[in-house]
Symmetry: C2
Subunit: 194 residues, 2 copies
Amino acid sequence: MSGQQPPIRPDAADSPWRTLAAREAYRNPWLSVTEYQVLRPDGAPGLYGVVDPGDNVTIVPLDDEQQIWVVEDFLYTIQRWGWFLPTGAINPGEDPLLAAQRELLEETGLRAARWDPLCACYLSPGISTQRSYLYLARGLTEGDPQRDPTEARMTTRRMPLAEARAASRLSETASAVTALGLTLAWEAIQAEVE
Amino acid sequence: MSGQQPPIRPDAADSPWRTLAAREAYRNPWLSVTEYQVLRPDGAPGLYGVVDPGDNVTIVPLDDEQQIWVVEDFLYTIQRWGWFLPTGAINPGEDPLLAAQRELLEETGLRAARWDPLCACYLSPGISTQRSYLYLARGLTEGDPQRDPTEARMTTRRMPLAEARAASRLSETASAVTALGLTLAWEAIQAEVE
């Protein structure tokens, strides 16, 4: 699974780091880790392991009754059930908006008539290249989910936006991007009302 | 760096996944990747690579003039300069609050008289175990930073909370946890005023 030599990506012109060598340290179908030999900003030799899961999308599906649709699933990483905004990987070359529409349909069966971008933000930029594109999806129509086999136990839940926003910060499985997405959606709605 | 056999962590009693084997796929001083052989929720065999960088802390340092202190540094992962809330790893066994006090001092030279927890949230729970503990730090006293060698080029910046909150979502290097932290701090301040 590893040992291939990826090309050394060029250092940005304004980078205080210098990259000397690169090796693919790990790869599975969902993420890779590249280990770079570097000269650090203080000039000393070091290494930097960069995790690359690719970018993803996060959708805030809000219906006409101000209810949010979230997905509930078991998170293998943290060995807990939790609820989250629908999210999923952007396929190579795929437009983020099309990825968001596809993922919303796959995970929840929902289609949305109106899509508004909320933010594009890095999730853990100290270690990972991953960026999430957040969208507010409105004008919802229900249909059947088309879930991945890994999502066989996923279900959807509907709850008031205000309640979801408050709960998203207090939950034992709170996720930064879910909490941020619900807050940005809340603020967007408030701004439209005012 | 790899090939050690970590113990199979026990599956949670309510997990729809079954773990069959585990191997350490990658490790550096800052993170590890464990690859698990699993039976997925649909019963089919598969694998799951779990990234474990350890938990971290994120601090919102707010001074008496409603100015936020942020750090500016080059992000090797995304090859860009950006500004962020001070953040850093929790040492093994370290209390999150003590880690936050230590990291704030190291990165900015600031000490804070008042600490309020804002949220504890997972940063990328589809692939990583990492959780960040967010704190609002007030009653600031300035001093000298004690930065790591990798942070040799880090500087601090001071800006109004309202401006930082808006800018954190629009920046080309927007970070979910920085945007969330600034918003939670903003809401906490508003709630105290009302």
